[in-house]
Symmetry: C2
Subunit: 422 residues, 2 copies
């Protein structure tokens, strides 16, 4: 159903033999219900304005649109030209109507009444735009109404006939006004700020509540894809398209997630993930350069006892010196790989980077396994984590030098793309 | 500095020997610059309105406030009663002024001009409220201005003297209008929707951009605390206050994070964390009930060979049957604990819950270590993760039965608290 919400001013119900704004809307939209709002002063009249209670509103409206029912509400307003006077009252009436008619579409007459009423209705619309439309009605002269004839209750029947004849010759003077763009502008600024924080999910939530938004569906579908990939750790399609190497894809993607969380200061999660990514990357390197050093059983990495006798004896000695016992049944992980590099490439570029990860391994395990909190101030932890994140990127670019620098900036590029869509 | 932005209407510069809205604002706020906006039709005049170009605006304004400089802008507007006419023009002029005077405070005259101009300025303010204030000016009669004497350019000098005398007897008729609440209402709805998604950080970002917000500082400080705890895994103070047991605190807190991420569908992260929390909780249980079974070296858990001979022989057999070799040097973790329970409490409540975590351990390791993506549709993974998250809660409540049910609802309570502050 369709409901017209209309304040009533002194150009209602008509003026100069033509519809006032309310009547013109009723004539052309034929609402099921028209809700009229009067201030007590217009209802009772003054030396300048005829008492509007003397108009038979129901009869007038029925003659213009016979299916339309009418409700009148009269409120005593202390300051008729104030803003605060209408804010709560209009909101209350509109919420009440929405509760009574949950499926209704609302037309708000923003032409009748005082400028303050008009502004209040526009603001109400911007704030709660759902199922609403603001209708403005231009004057027949396409200019100000000043100095033209007001309606007189005593002549209302004959006057209405004249008005009906005059209006029957004319087109609708109603137009829906496009002020929702103000709301859009506001949300656009919020979206910009959330983009800076890589908070793509919050953007989706804001846009979902927004009925119209420039490029809204493009932004939404892009972000739905991105957030789904993030949540399920599925490599972004632009990466899988560009690079064939599956390991490279995963390493790059996980670095991007790591870096994004780091920028969001999700620091404990970053700390937990640094080691797994490092492990993954250096394992791929070892498999490529030292074929056969690692053997896999049920997909899990173990040391191959039959690799290289010199290496094995060096490794035994190294463990012995560090007070560890060699055990070939132990699953390989970061500490083992770190030791391998001490033997294989003690002066290499990778081991230097691995040492940054090694430096946080203790606190990492406390946070990941002992569920300790992360004290950033303690032992230079913050600085160590910064270094470790940087080291992860450098290790990836050593192991997968074919990755274009540009592709480490996935989120920077995404943010740029999103901003361009705004 | 202070800048007045004012459209000019037919009640400017004065009417009926009293200030029009613009002049009253100039009189009482004494801006450094007054920017006047004229439509071509009011500038040139019509049969109803005197040509406003004939008023000496600078002289008039200087006589009322001698420090105020004046800029006039005249624009041809096709539809003077339309909304779209002013939206872009006003915005353009205001942005231009803001660029020229980055430190200025702006007063927007929302009384002069057409109702559409007024509404447009109010909407502009709501959308970009920073360093702005909307000033409304009431008429001297505290009622409509209709049928009173307009200003005549020919008599402007003598008329201004009369106006100055009349106004000198009166208080300011200006008032700052409090329509920012519409913006607040809009943001309040957005905040509500973000609360539903536990997106506390996005709320902070929205509120930071908002100069006034009911309970804003309370909401902000609460959320700053909560997000800091989340980001550094530091147990919420309400938990540390209520429970003395450090292990209980950590288990509960990490379940809360897990559950919150689960509700946000951050599903890969949830999958990765389930195992660590389970490991932590059952290890505490084993230490309490089977004292001495686990021994710690450098803080890390190993099996104690001298625990109970019967248990050790059972454990050897169990590993043998499952084709694993016993190795006392291996760090204990979830699979070992799961096996312990097969011997110690094969019919107990905990092992049933642990089996839910065991069911996802393979996919968990693929995601955590092999950086695989999580395919929710495959092998009933989604259902298995749901079960595992529930199982974590049940294990915690078995191991720490003193936790009140209520405390598992930390985020539900936080959300309620936040909504009450809105």
């Amino acid at each position: 159903m369709r409901i017209l919400f209309s304040p009533i001013g002194n150009t209602d119900p008509w003026r100069n033999d033509r519809d006032g704004a309310m009547l013109n809307i009723v004539r052309h939209y034929k609402p099921d219900l028209t809700f009229l709002f009067f201030t007590e002063s217009i209802w009772e009249g003054s030396d300048k304005v005829a008492p509007h209670r003397l108009f038979n509103w129901e009869e007038i409206i029925k003659k213009v649109s016979n299916k339309t029912s009418v409700e009148c509400m009269i409120e005593k307003i202390e300051d008729v030209n104030g803003f605060d006077s209408y804010k709560d009252i209009f909101h209350k009436y509109l919420v009440d109507l929405e509760n009574r008619y949950p499926d209704a579409e609302f037309l708000l007459n923003v032409t009748s009444g005082t400028p303050q009423m008009e502004t209040t209705l526009c603001l109400e619309y911007i704030t709660y735009p759902s199922h609403k439309d603001c209708i403005q009605v231009t004057t027949p002269l396409l200019a100000s109404n000043a100095n033209t004839k007001y309606a007189n209750p005593e002549d209302q029947e004959i006057d209405l006939e004249i008005v009906n004849i005059e209006e029957s010759k004319s087109e609708s003077r109603c137009q829906s006004i496009s002020i929702i763009s103000f709301r859009e502008a506001m949300i656009r600024n919020q979206v910009k700020s959330l983009i800076e924080n890589y908070d793509y999910e919050a953007i989706l939530w804001l846009l979902d509540a927004q009925k119209s938004f420039y490029n809204g569906s493009r932004i939404r579908s892009r972000l739905k894809e991105v957030t789904k990939n993030i949540k399920t750790h599925e490599v972004f399609p632009s990466i899988t398209k560009k690079y064939r190497n599956n390991d490279l894809q995963k390493a790059l993607f996980h670095f991007l997630l790591l870096d994004m969380r780091f920028k969001r200061r999700d620091i404990a999660e970053v700390l937990i993930r640094v080691k797994s990514i490092t492990e993954f990357v250096v394992e791929k390197y070892l498999n490529r350069k030292y074929v056969g050093l690692i053997k896999y059983t049920k997909g899990k990495p173990y040391i191959n006892l039959f690799y290289n006798p010199k290496f094995m004896s060096d490794y035994h000695n190294l463990l012995k010196n560090e007070n560890y016992k060699f055990d070939e049944r132990r699953l390989l992980s970061f500490p083992a790989y770190y030791n391998f590099f001490k033997i294989l490439e003690p002066e290499g570029r990778l081991i230097k980077k691995m040492s940054c990860v090694n430096d946080i391994n203790g606190i990492r395990n406390d946070v990941a396994h002992n569920l300790e909190n992360l004290n950033l101030e303690k032992n230079g932890n913050e600085e160590k984590i910064v270094k470790a994140v940087r080291a992860v990127k450098e290790m990836i670019s050593i192991v997968f030098p074919e990755i274009k620098q540009d592709d480490y900036e996935y989120f920077t590029k995404l943010n740029k793309e999103l901003k361009e869509l705004l």
